[in-house]
Symmetry: C2
């Protein structure tokens, strides 16, 4: 079953930051400057992590994966709230199960 996974990253170098950003765009929705929310199977998550291993600097950078919960229609609405701008994933269709 697919999981909603929040991926946020601190990357110490602009060139590496752009590489991570480009890779992440293929795996989920860009919701904040360095934060994506993805819908991933276990295989997809492992694949993404393997690709990130080749990009990041293991002492300077960190890409954090946070499991939010199974992909169900209202799972995300219950778990995410905001102050300020609303939470509006760019491509809402991708998040609707």
């Amino acid at each position: 079953m697919r999981q909603y996974v929040l991926v946020s990253y601190d990357i110490g170098d602009p060139k590496r930051w752009r590489k991570v950003f480009k890779l992440m765009k293929g795996y989920g929705d860009h919701v904040q400057y360095s934060v994506f929310i993805c819908q991933l199977t276990g295989v997809q998550e492992a694949e993404l992590k393997a690709k990130l291993e080749d990009i990041v600097h293991h002492k300077q950078d960190q890409v954090m994966f946070v499991q939010i919960g199974p992909v169900t229609k209202n799972q995300l609405d219950k778990r995410i709230s905001t102050v300020g701008k609303e939470y509006l994933p760019r491509d809402i269709t991708k998040l609707i199960y």
Copy 2:
């Protein structure tokens, strides 16, 4: 029951960013540049949101709250993984139930 809540923010102005950062330091653990992980009761979350309402610019800024799960000893370890630097909350004692 307390929940683990990830709080990440995009703030359009450095002065407001510092105010949010200062406020957040009293509510949780600073884990990435604009990301905190907190252990909050419902009341604490509401209190934090009310304080943030007074700081943020509602059209330019966004503070996102993501419910991770109930505060139990190994809840967080199961939900968080990293590529690159390990996930080491600055104050691990605060996260141990």
